[in-house]
Amino acid sequence: MTGGQLINAYLAEITAALPGPAGARRDIVAELGSGLLDAAGAYRRSGLPPAAATAAAISEFGDPREIAAAFRPELAASQARRLALSLAGTGPLVGLLWAVAVVASHVAVRHAPPWQWAGTPPGSPVIFPVAAAAILITVWTALATVAATGRLTRWLPARPRIATSTAAIAGYGAATADLAILALLASQLISAPSSLAPLPVAAAAAASLARLTLARRAARQCLATRAALT
């Protein structure tokens, strides 16, 4: 094997043992690869032939399984943090789109001022509490995840197991909230389709549908990463 092949085989072994999104893994492995080239360069300058220099660099870096194991909690914490931050960022946006859709439907289609409430869609006595509970749970678990994986880890050890759990709960909570609101929309569409302002409602529904899909997938990935923690 050439030096490059040796390094690639070593990095492939680490990649295979790392959980989490491909992007984060690629970044980590790229950094390790660049470090290995630095180390091999240092050995070459000290007089070793190229192949021996690469072998020495690899042995200096250590057991690939150990390196992957040291990265696992870190990857889990940053994955949980990323999901929680993206939920915290998109939550208000999706909420705003729905608020615009409701007000626009009310004012433009029904020709009534917003304070003259025209009644709620059928199914709301059940769906509203579900959506409210889901939003509440999402907000709290997302904020807790962001807090526990950020600056707090300067003084307290990060708990990647707990962080991936709370992030997954937040992800599923957001998906539940989206599902509940879309169900509400469906019931309104069936009972009184002409009461909706098409464009704002379509925009809000598209945003909810997109977030529902992404949040569910990210939550599932968080749980997979959690399962890979030993």
Binding site: S34, E66, A70, E74
Partner: protein, 112 residues
């Protein structure tokens, strides 16, 4: 020096290695080795997860940068990292003074 002995102090040493200016991962390892006269010799691969942890805690900032013809991830201290380094240094001075006073027989006051 074994990895377990260093465990609680690795973060402080990594921060200290960046005090003079930004460095990439392998340069940090070389600084630790040279600065300790070869006493600190961890598997080099293990400092990379530690650097990522410090980065998430906003104590260092890592950025990919082009340096001497190749892309490297370069780390530098954040203002919070600088504060943390000062705090670690103060704690270490107190701790090492106390342990030295207790372990070194010559340091003990002699009673006639």
């Amino acid at each position: 020096m074994r990895a377990e002995t260093l465990k609680g102090h690795l973060d402080g040493m990594l921060l200290a290695s960046l005090e003079a200016g930004p460095r990439h991962g392998y340069a940090i390892m070389e600084a630790l080795r040279a600065g300790s006269g070869g006493q600190i010799d961890l598997p080099t691969g293990t400092i990379y997860p530690a650097l990522r942890r410090l980065e998430r805690a906003d104590l260092v900032q890592g950025t990919w940068a082009e340096a001497s013809g190749r892309r490297r991830r370069v780390y530098q201290l954040t203002p919070a990292g600088r504060h943390m380094l000062d705090a670690e240094r103060g704690q270490w001075r107190m701790f090492s003074a106390a342990v030295t006073a207790l372990l070194e027989p010559a340091a003990r006051p002699v009673t006639p």
